[in-house]
Symmetry: C2
Subunit: 494 residues, 2 copies
């Protein structure tokens, strides 16, 4: 859809060409890249998330958890999303694929899925350079494959986006893209050489790689301040810049998020299927053959499963509502989305912890509070995406949710619900620490209903505010939306 939209944008000059392009799809060597990208998104999102699967965590103190495993998880999540962003940028330039590109992309994916293992090695043996070498090796091979993809695509221009296909300085683009792609592998090469001398330094270099876009942006900015603006190709700013408002394919941001939410929602049930089917012998001995009694033992874990599924599902729901109204995703919004997803990935673990410990213990309280903190941050980063979008609302938002738009307040309420509830629950559990578990479970149960009647609540709230503060002022909304009458009445109720 994305691609077709862009083909349409390419406009009058390239109409014949773009028609030819879409006619070619579906047969012969060239194909639409839509499904390849969807599959890549699914692979990458699974890999980014599952490093924190509950079954992997030793059941010890909460404090101990906050060390290695979570570090590895966050590092993996960051580096995998960096690789994913690079993949998006690459396939925004290459909009059609053929068999050869599909196979090269699969090879690239295989190496990306291997990255988490190298992180595990690094975390377990921080002083051994093997992990670093393996990681750098993978990244370098990925870089080489991506360069081959770029060279191949530029040798067959009909695979490229219309904009570049039409452009006169195609060679300039090729060199620019290659330069950007090869930056990371070169840094890794440096890191692997340095690791033989001072291995600590190579960790610093690897950290730099993750923040490379932002660093390079700063350097560029300083360079510009000192040397004055440099001449640039007029439309080179549209891709492979590291500007925070560089557009990223909205469809792919959604697909990646869906993958993360889906795997997170199912992580706990996998764990339950594995661990919570009691042993036949145990049921005979301990429960006198009564399966119901044996399963009652696991009661809290089912509750944790439903709680986790509901929370993840509703966070997905909020994300879905938000991106329905976003018309363009930028780099910065995608970064905030990544942060939100990283917290979502921690939910199954946090939920499982809530029932691992004896009732009313300090550990249980901590686990519940950690859950609240995670929900809070997952929600607040979603809200941040919207706030960032509002700053540039003409370009990035649908008119209906812009400031003053008909859905503006409703959207705000939707996005603010989880952070507010999580914050409230957190402080309540601080005060009433004895009842922390019931409070937390009550919160889980009431939130879905809150979403169901949210539109009603917002209307009532708005009416009350209007009644109190400005009883004589005409209805604000009627100024904004003049087509209220065309919307069926039923749509307004829920």
């Amino acid at each position: 859809m994305e691609k077709k939209g862009r083909a349409r944008q390419a406009g009058s000059g390239s109409l014949m060409e773009s028609l030819g392009g879409s006619d070619r799809e579906g047969h012969s060597g060239t194909q639409s890249s839509h499904r390849l990208l969807a599959y890549s998104d699914a692979l990458i999102s699974i890999i980014a998330t599952v490093m924190l699967s509950p079954s992997q965590v030793l059941r010890e103190s909460v404090q101990l958890l906050l060390s290695t495993k979570i570090c590895v998880y966050l590092m993996t999540f960051l580096i995998v999303t960096v690789a994913w962003a690079a993949h998006i940028r690459l396939f925004q330039v290459i909009v059609r694929i053929d068999d050869c590109l599909a196979l090269l992309n699969l090879a690239c994916m295989m190496l990306i899925t291997f990255l988490p293992y190298t992180f595990s090695l690094m975390a377990t043996f921080p002083e051994n350079i093997l992990g670093i070498l393996l990681f750098c090796g993978c990244v370098m091979v990925i870089g080489v494959i991506q360069s081959v993809i770029v060279l191949y695509a530029f040798s067959q221009p009909f695979l490229l986006s219309e904009q570049i296909q039409m452009s006169e300085n195609r060679t300039f683009y090729k060199h620019h893209i290659l330069k950007v792609i090869m930056r990371v592998p070169l840094m890794c090469f440096l890191a692997s050489i340095v690791s033989f001398v001072v291995f600590q330094l190579s960790y610093v270099l690897l950290a730099i790689i993750i923040f490379l876009p932002y660093i390079s942006r700063c350097v560029e900015w300083c360079h510009k301040k000192v040397m004055g603006p440099v001449e640039e190709s007029p439309d080179s700013v549209l891709f492979y810049t590291y500007l925070p408002n560089e557009p990223l394919s909205k469809e792919r941001v959604e697909a990646f998020s869906d993958g993360v939410y889906a795997i997170v929602a199912t992580l706990l049930i996998l764990d339950i299927c594995e661990d919570n089917v009691p042993d036949v012998a145990v049921v005979q001995q301990r429960f006198g053959g009564s399966l119901v009694a044996a399963l009652q033992d696991y009661g809290p874990e089912y509750l944790a499963y439903f709680g986790s599924f509901v929370t993840v599902g509703l966070l997905w729901f909020v994300h879905h509502s938000l991106f329905l109204h976003v018309t363009k995703a930028t780099r910065f919004m995608s970064l905030l989305n990544t942060f939100s997803l990283a917290f979502v990935g921690g939910l199954p673990l946090a939920y499982q912890l809530t029932h691992e410990f004896p009732r009313n213990s300090q550990n249980e309280l901590e686990a519940i509070q950690i859950s609240c903190v995670i929900i809070f941050f997952a929600g607040i980063f979603q809200l941040a995406i919207w706030v960032v979008a509002l700053y540039n609302e003409q370009e990035t938002l649908h008119p209906y949710v812009r400031y003053g738009g008909r859905e503006h307040v409703f959207m705000l309420a939707k996005l603010a619900l989880y952070p507010c509830v999580a914050l409230g629950t957190f402080f309540l559990t601080c005060i009433l620490s004895k009842f922390s578990a019931p409070i937390f479970h009550l919160m889980e149960i009431t939130v879905p209903f809150a979403f169901l009647v949210l539109r009603l609540l917002v209307r009532v709230g708005l009416a009350l505010i209007r009644l109190i503060f400005c009883p004589d002022r005409p209805d604000l909304r009627s100024v904004v939306d003049d087509d209220e009458s065309t919307v069926p009445f039923n749509a307004l109720v829920t």
Copy 2:
């Protein structure tokens, strides 16, 4: 895309209406259902597949494996795909959603993800009726939720597909759909009552549920033979029939398949991340602190990982190529696709088994042969999809891959490659059982290269055949494709 295509098909009469429909999307209460469906597909595909995750299997004899776990896996896979097909049908009727439908759908998904656990209970305690009751309870609640979804959607007709929206006998449709949906919950209600009396009988009833569409089709056919044809609403045959050529959304079949392939491709690496990072103490004691030596111990498992990823990736690649040329997916094709995916789901387990046993043991040979059998069937069912599509090629296939089309032979070669190679490897390992492991690994390594040069191989093969059998006959292909010249030369090479 699917939806928009259909809106366009609805044609002149409903042009205004469909324009209104797509204008309404993206704001107000109504939304495009595209992302909701993608998320549901991801959830269902993960749930269908992971019951056979390698880490769940006790490391014992191959024969033992072939019992409970695999039964549970296959039952889960079947029932989850039945639920998924019902979900597709439902959302082919309801093409737009609002917040309320999205939340109801999430509740439905939560119950579907709980089904595998009830199967685990049934498999572990076959004589206890609790598993049956839990399963039936879930299915009944799912049925009720789906009925609520249908009633809600029919109360707000702008959510329905254009065809039904325009239709005069909307009430007839509503009753027809409700009748079809409630059939399964009613069967489950019966099964749960029967389970109190004769629990074996309720398993039979559950088996009937899975094959209900096919049984009901047979009954209908017999009824028609005996009673003569009954009068039907003219266009009622278009949905909620159980005809094998009832169309299913091609986009969703692809999304579901992508989900299965993605989770299967990553299952082994998750397992490796979990189990194959050696313990610090073990490395110190057994390997004198040499991490490289310790990792060499795991050598075969890395090989299994790469083998599994390559095979799954290439099977995805073949699937992708196939569905690129399929223009319409039918029920029967989707069923064959499900069978293919069920075998693909067994791959990670089979691959892990290949290195679990001592070299040249009977178990290793069996594991390798099982892998070959799994690959063979996964490939042969893909081929079967194409063969079925060829039977009705005017409707279901792109002209280029129809019999006599330019890509026909190439497609056949692509689809036949894996079955042929797997069969060859199987018989080779039977004869040269001593070298089974090297033969198998050699196969894994050569297949990707075979795909890279496949187009070349097919051309050479065709030229040879033409030279031998009919040296004087004019080029067959030039009759079929008259636009060969418009395709760039490069596209023909790979």
